[in-house]
């Protein structure tokens, strides 16, 4: 099994005629995903790699002849909120928002709207999610043949604030013979649709998943939230964490952000060291070296 996505999941791509969207459409189709339409206002009647383009989400749903499960949203930041709300208003329940630099207030509005309609948002500023050997939703893992190299089906659920590191870590799990159940690039912004703790119940319910690996960074309270969740829920899943950006704890780096917008440290609780402490207190093993991950996961599954 997997979380959020399976071989039957249908989705559309909003902003499908953009350069990046055309690429990810090709990649997803090649990997076996069911893309049933694309939306770019004013471009109705075109096709992108055989996928029909519509002006509205409603037209895509009508053409499909029934509800569509998901949407990958790749429209510019100023238009993202409307696109996401349009998708949810037309019955779509899973949104992957690729767009970067969306104002926080817009993200929060989308998330609240999604909550009211039982929809889930992944991102923004993310590469989406992948179920190895089955399908992927977003640019995660790159072209199908490259994704096949990095991702093989297996027992580890991966969640990462960095899109690239989702694949780097999954590749090492694949090389170690552990494989990946579902990998989610959760996004690099300060406010995102789905945090680690919010995705944990899905992994908890997925029989295939035997362990979790998270990639984390300074900034925000997402790790503290996961530590609290783990303590409160007595989870069956061992969690292994890797913390990047420890150099940002240096005096000279205060108030700067590196890599992702969400890495800006706004309070003492957001620093790398403070986060490591909280994770470890909750029984989450934080590894020092990225290449220790597969061995520690094996140990934890067996132990």
């Amino acid at each position: 099994m997997s979380i959020l996505l399976d071989k039957d999941t249908t989705f559309i791509v909003q902003g499908i005629t953009g350069r990046e969207a055309i690429n990810l459409t090709r990649e997803c189709l090649d990997y076996g995903s069911r893309i049933v339409g694309g939306v770019t206002p004013g471009r109705k009647g075109r096709e992108v790699h055989g996928v029909p383009v519509f002006d509205t989400v409603a037209q895509a749903v009508e053409n499909h002849g029934g509800p569509i499960d998901g949407s990958v949203v790749t429209v510019p930041p100023g238009f993202t909120k409307d696109a996401v709300i349009e998708a949810i208003a037309n019955g779509i329940k899973l949104l992957v928002i690729v767009t970067e630099r969306i104002p926080r207030g817009d993200v929060a509005e989308m998330v609240e709207f999604a909550d009211m309609h039982g929809a889930r948002i992944i991102g923004p500023n993310c590469l989406g999610l992948i179920v190895p050997g089955v399908c992927k939703m977003g640019g995660i893992g790159g072209p199908a043949k490259d994704a096949a190299k990095s991702y093989e089906p297996g027992v580890v659920g991966v969640m990462s604030r960095s899109g690239g590191m989702t694949t780097e870590i999954s590749s090492s799990l694949t090389a170690a013979g552990l494989g990946v159940s579902t990998a989610v690039s959760i996004g690099g912004d300060a406010i995102i649709g789905s945090t680690y703790a919010e995705l944990m119940p899905y992994f908890e319910a997925d029989e295939q998943t035997k362990a979790i690996v998270i990639y984390t960074e300074p900034g925000g309270r997402m790790e503290a939230q996961l530590a609290e969740w783990k303590t409160e829920n007595n989870s069956r899943l061992p969690i292994v964490a890797f913390m990047a950006g420890k150099f940002m704890d240096d005096e000279e780096m205060q108030g700067m952000s590196f890599g992702h917008a969400g890495t800006i440290v706004e309070g003492k609780e957001d620093s790398a060291n403070e986060k490591i402490k909280r994770l470890e207190e909750a029984g989450i093993r934080v590894v020092e070296r990225i290449d220790e991950i597969p061995d520690v996961v094996k140990e934890r599954i067996e132990g």
Binding site: R104, S162, G163, M165, D291
Partner: protein, 405 residues
């Protein structure tokens, strides 16, 4: 984007929150005229984007317009934390009965703005929250639904405030919450919110910060109401030569993305690494193994040869850089051969031997075979994904330490 106090007060005023009859002045003469208009004791406050004004002497009290002018003249010349003020604010000296705190911040976990109120104003709210938690009221507001006055009332009442004080403070906190949402603020604070001896409430100081991502759609407030010029970004970060040059190289070519920072880095190992999370991981891996990075960088999105060459050259020309490490996480769309060509070109153009200069080259990605051929030709040590980010960084560190010894 940060605001000066006089602008923050204007934002508060535009939202319908009462303020004192303050004036913003850029000369001592203007300060005298404003003080004459006020016609009583005044406070002269430095307008500067840094804390600790009071301690530094940037806030002075005056009984007469002449005294106000004198203080203004001094404060206008006074640097605080290395920053010169843009002017002074002349404010009537208020007859305060009680000081309160009203604020709105983001709660990233709840993904909603959080209203805060305290009847212990005038001091740091975090300190109050720690020492007197029962004196801080809190409440989230919706991102979608209108903010009701009752929501503000609940937050204030939770601190034990009642009577006319509750009724006067309620619309102020509600308006502050609305302006926070309408103006894309990251922080909106009135501290102190003062109850005067006549029972009225006024904002005596305000602190506002707007999200940079939203500046483009807040033009009406920024340009028209506050008269802030487009190029005035309020970013007091001064980029280094290296940072400026890398930015210029990136802007000159739309293919690929490069970034470079060297604030706080002073090492001998130059880094050409990428991207986002990979750069954070690699910078740590170099440091943890005893290496001294000369910079932070990001390269990705399939850059041109010129861009890869430009970044490598800038890194190589930094003071104290002996070698560079070229390392990336698995990025499928960046062509290895192009990055290889770029960094080798940078070495050659600076008269350096690529085999000596490039400590390690780790790029799993597209066109790996082509890349290997080029690197082989110049005798550069390279590796693919089978060597972890940690080990690649370790090999670079070992090499440079061997070289320096």
């Amino acid at each position: 984007m940060r605001f000066y106090e006089y602008e923050a007060r204007k934002i508060v005023e535009l939202a319908g929150i009462p303020v004192t009859k303050y004036g913003f002045c850029q000369t001592a003469d203007e300060a005298r005229r404003v003080a004459e208009d006020i016609g009583g004791p005044t406070v002269i406050k430095s307008q500067v984007l840094t804390g600790g004004r009071m301690k530094a002497g940037g806030v002075q009290f005056a009984d007469t317009p002449e005294e106000a002018a004198e203080h203004a003249a001094n404060i206008l010349e006074l640097e605080i934390n290395g920053l010169r003020p843009v002017g002074v604010l002349v404010d009537p000296k208020a007859e305060i009965k009680q000081e309160y705190y009203a604020g709105v911040v983001w709660d990233g976990t709840a993904k909603k703005p959080l209203m805060l109120f305290s009847d212990m104003g005038g001091i740091d709210i975090e300190q109050v929250a720690e020492d007197h938690p029962d004196h801080v009221g809190r409440g989230h507001i919706s991102n979608l639904l209108p903010v009701g006055d009752f929501e503000a009332k609940q937050v204030i009442a939770a601190t034990g405030v009642t009577g006319s004080q509750l009724n006067r403070a309620t619309p102020i906190l509600a308006k502050l919450a609305r302006l926070f949402r309408d103006n894309d603020m990251l922080l909106a604070e009135i501290n102190p919110l003062a109850e005067l001896t006549d029972g009225t409430f006024v904002a005596l100081d305000a602190h506002m910060e707007m999200e940079d991502e939203a500046v483009g759609r807040q033009k009406k407030l920024l340009r028209k109401e506050l008269g802030i010029a487009e190029e005035d970004t309020r970013d007091n970060y001064v980029p280094s030569e290296f940072e400026k040059n890398v930015k210029a190289i990136d802007a000159a070519d739309h293919r690929g993305v490069i970034q470079g920072k060297d604030h706080g880095f002073k090492g001998n190992l130059g880094l050409v690494i990428g991207a986002g999370g990979g750069s954070l991981t690699l910078t740590d891996a170099v440091r943890s193994q005893g290496g001294k990075p000369a910079n932070y960088s990001e390269i990705g999105g399939n850059p041109s040869v010129a861009k890869a060459c430009g970044l490598a050259k800038e890194v190589l020309q930094k003071d104290g850089v002996e070698k560079i490490a070229v390392m990336m996480s698995i990025v499928s769309n960046t062509r290895v051969d192009i990055v290889a060509r770029g960094v080798i070109k940078a070495c050659l153009e600076l008269g350096k031997d690529p085999a000596e200069t490039i400590a390690i080259f780790r790029i799993p990605g597209a066109w790996e075979d082509e890349g290997s051929k080029i690197l082989d030709h110049y005798g550069v040590e390279y590796c693919d994904r089978t060597v972890s980010l940690w080990d690649a960084a370790g090999r670079a560190v070992a090499k440079i330490q061997g070289a320096s010894a």
